[in-house]
C-alpha cells in the first residue's frame, strides 16, 4: 500500500498558497509555492520543505514562511490555522486527504481572530487570559500538604474527561461569530470569553476540589463578555477537533449562572 503510493507520487507536486505578513500590523500578501509530494506528508512537513526552499512559483527568492507548532500530534494546538478556509491543526492535516491529486492547490491562512505575529503564526494570549479570567485550575497551591482530596464519582469523571481534552487551540473561537479580533488588550477582560473558557469553567466547577472557586468562576461568567454573550450559532462545537460538547457546556453554565444569580441575590 505505502510502497505503491510512494511510486505513484514520484515527480508530483502540490501548490500551496499562503497568506503572509511580515510582522504585527504589516499588510498581508499572498505567495504560492510548489512542493514535491512526499508519502505521509502533512502541512507541517510541507512548510518545513518551504522553509528549506523559500522560492515562490514565480522563481522569486523570498523569506522562509513562519508558523507555530509543538507536539506534532494534535495535542498542543499551537499549529492551528485556516486550511482551505477551514480552521484545524496543520500537523494532523494529511496532504493525501486534502490534496489527493497532482497539482492540487491548498490555501493556508493565519487564524483571523488573533493578532498575527508573522505569516501563519498568531498570538493566542487572549485565550490564555480567558482561562485566568475563570480561574481554570484546581486551587491546591500552598506551603504544606493538604492531604487527600474529596472522593470523585466515576460519573462526573466521565463528563470531565472529555472536557479536559481541550488543548486551547482556538478553533472554537475562530469559528464563533460572537468572538472577534480585539487588538486592544485592555478590552479583553470584558470581550466575549468564548466557548473554550466557558467549558473549562464547567470542567473545574465539576471537580470536587476545583469547586472551591465555583462562585468566582460564575461571577466571571455573568459579567460583560460572559456566557450570556453567546449567540447560539453553535459553530464552536462543529469545529472542535476534540469533539468537546461545547454547546452543552454553554447551556450548563447558563443554568449555573441563573441559579448563582438568584442565590447570591438572597445571600447579600
Amino acid at each position: 500500500m505505502i510502497a505503491s503510493q510512494e511510486t505513484a507520487s514520484k515527480g508530483q507536486h502540490i501548490r500551496i498558497r499562503i497568506k503572509r505578513s511580515d510582522g504585527p500590523g504589516k499588510p498581508s500578501y499572498w505567495q504560492a509555492f510548489d512542493v514535491p509530494r512526499e508519502p505521509g506528508a502533512n502541512i507541517i512537513s510541507c512548510l518545513q520543505w518551504i522553509a528549506a526552499h523559500p522560492v515562490t512559483v514565480d522563481g522569486e527568492k523570498t523569506t522562509p514562511v513562519v508558523w507555530d507548532s509543538g507536539c506534532l500530534e494534535e495535542v498542543c494546538g499551537a499549529c492551528t490555522m485556516l486550511i482551505n478556509g477551514g480552521v484545524r491543526q496543520s500537523c494532523s492535516a494529511l496532504i493525501s486527504d486534502i490534496a489527493p491529486n497532482d497539482g492540487d492547490e491548498i490555501t493556508l491562512e493565519p487564524m483571523s481572530k488573533f493578532p498575527v505575529i508573522r505569516d501563519l503564526w498568531v498570538d493566542r494570549q487572549r485565550l490564555f487570559d480567558s482561562l485566568k479570567r475563570v480561574q481554570a485550575w484546581v486551587p491546591i497551591d500552598g506551603s504544606y500538604s493538604l492531604g487527600a482530596g474529596p472522593k470523585e464519582s466515576p460519573d462526573k469523571q466521565g463528563t470531565r474527561y472529555t472536557l479536559s481534552t481541550c488543548m486551547s487551540c482556538g478553533c472554537c473561537l475562530e469559528a464563533c461569530p460572537q468572538y472577534n479580533l480585539e487588538e486592544d488588550e485592555s478590552q479583553w477582560p470584558t470581550s466575549f470569553i468564548g466557548a473554550a473558557a466557558i467549558s473549562q469553567a464547567r470542567l473545574f466547577n465539576e471537580h470536587e476540589t476545583g469547586k472551591q472557586l465555583k462562585r468566582e468562576r460564575l461571577d466571571a461568567l455573568m459579567g460583560p463578555g460572559g456566557v450570556s454573550d453567546c449567540g447560539n450559532a453553535q459553530n464552536c462545537v462543529k469545529v472542535c477537533p476534540k469533539e468537546i460538547p461545547l454547546t452543552e457546556s454553554i447551556s450548563a453554565m447558563g443554568r449555573a449562572t441563573t441559579i448563582h444569580a438568584i442565590t447570591s441575590w438572597f445571600r447579600r
Binding site: G86, P177, N180, F192, A220, G225, G231, G254, T258, A261
Partner: protein, 299 residues
C-alpha cells in the same frame, strides 16, 4: 501568586449583576409578554379563516369568508370590551418591545456573521435571528403606524380604523383600496407576508435558544428534541399567520362591511350606525335586499 490575574475584570459586583440581569430580561421579554402576545394575536387573526366553523349554528347561510368576518369581529369586540386592564397590558407590551428591540440591536451589532465560511444550519439561524429582528421591528412599526395611528404610507386613503369594522379595514389596508387590489396593496401584502414570516421565525428560534440561555436544555439530545418542538410551534404559527393574511387579501370590502354593519346595527341601532360612519368617514356599502342572515351574533 497562583493566579497572576492581571487581566481579571476590574468590574464591581453591581456591574456584573446588571449585565447579567439585562441579558436575562432581554430573553424573558422576548418570551413574555412579546412572544405570548404574538401567539394570541396570530391565533385571533386566523379566525378570519376558520371563524365560520366556530360560530356554532350562528353561521348558517354564511360563506367561509363571511363567517370569518363575523367571528373575527366578535373576538375584536371581546378583546376591547371584556379584557381587563387593556391599557396596562398595552403599556407593558410597548415597554417590553422597546427594551427588547433596543438591546436586540446592541447585541446583534456585537457579532459578525460568518455564514460564508461556516454555512451550518445553526449558524444560518443565528444570522436569520438577527435579520428577522430588524425586519420584525420595522414591520411592527409600519403595522401599528398605519392601522393604529392612521399614517397613510402605502395606504393613500389612510385607514379609517374602527374596532367595530375590523375585517373590512384590514381588507382595505392590505389591498390598497376599498375596491380591490392596487399596486400599493400588492406592496403592503408582500410587506405583511415578509414581516409575519420574520416574526414567527424569530419567536420560534428564540424559544429554542432561550432554553439554552436559561440552561433548560443542556444535552445535545434535549436541544434537538426541543428544536423539533419549536419548529412544530413555528409551523403552526406560520399557518395561522399566513391563513389570516390570505383571508384578508381575498376578502371583499363590501361583503365584510355589510356583516360588520349588521352587527353594529344589532347592537346600537341604525341611526347610530349612520352617525358613526359619517363621523369616521368610513366607506359604506349598499346592503343587498336578499342579504338576510339568520339571527345576529355578538353580545
Amino acid at each position: 501568586m497562583a493566579s497572576g490575574p492581571d487581566t481579571k475584570p476590574t468590574l464591581t459586583p453591581a456591574q456584573i449583576q446588571r449585565h447579567f440581569l439585562l441579558r436575562r430580561l432581554h430573553s424573558l421579554t422576548g418570551l413574555v409578554p412579546i412572544g405570548v402576545f404574538l401567539v394570541v394575536h396570530l391565533v385571533t387573526n386566523s379566525s378570519l379563516a376558520w371563524g365560520r366553523f366556530a360560530l356554532r349554528g350562528k353561521g348558517e347561510g354564511l360563506t367561509v369568508a363571511e363567517g370569518g368576518v363575523k367571528y373575527f369581529q366578535h373576538e375584536v369586540t371581546f378583546i376591547n370590551e371584556s379584557v381587563p386592564h387593556l391599557l396596562l397590558i398595552e403599556i407593558t407590551l410597548w415597554v417590553s418591545i422597546a427594551f427588547h428591540s433596543i438591546l436586540g440591536v446592541v447585541y446583534a451589532t456585537s457579532g459578525k456573521s460568518n455564514l460564508q465560511r461556516y454555512p451550518h444550519q445553526d449558524n444560518w439561524r443565528y444570522t436569520l435571528q438577527r435579520i428577522s429582528g430588524y425586519v420584525g421591528i420595522l414591520f411592527i412599526f409600519y403595522h401599528v403606524a398605519t392601522l393604529r395611528w392612521g399614517w397613510t404610507f402605502l395606504i393613500p386613503e389612510g385607514t379609517k380604523w374602527s374596532h367595530s369594522f375590523s375585517a373590512s379595514t384590514l381588507a382595505a389596508a392590505m389591498q390598497g383600496s376599498t375596491e380591490g387590489f392596487t399596486i400599493f396593496g400588492v406592496a403592503v401584502s408582500v410587506l405583511y407576508m415578509v414581516g409575519v414570516t420574520a416574526l414567527v421565525f424569530h419567536f420560534a428560534n428564540g424559544l429554542w435558544t432561550a432554553a439554552i440561555t436559561w440552561g433548560i436544555t443542556i444535552s445535545a439530545k434535549a436541544q434537538k428534541r426541543w428544536g423539533i418542538a419549536c419548529a412544530g410551534l413555528g409551523a403552526g404559527l406560520m399557518l395561522a399567520g399566513w391563513s389570516s393574511l390570505i383571508a384578508t387579501m381575498t376578502l371583499d370590502y363590501d361583503e365584510a362591511h355589510l356583516i360588520e354593519r349588521q352587527m353594529f346595527i344589532e347592537k346600537y341601532g341604525e341611526a347610530e350606525y349612520e352617525a358613526y360612519v359619517e363621523q369616521k368617514g368610513i366607506e359604506t356599502a349598499d346592503p343587498q335586499p336578499e342579504q338576510s342572515t339568520g339571527s345576529g351574533g355578538g353580545e
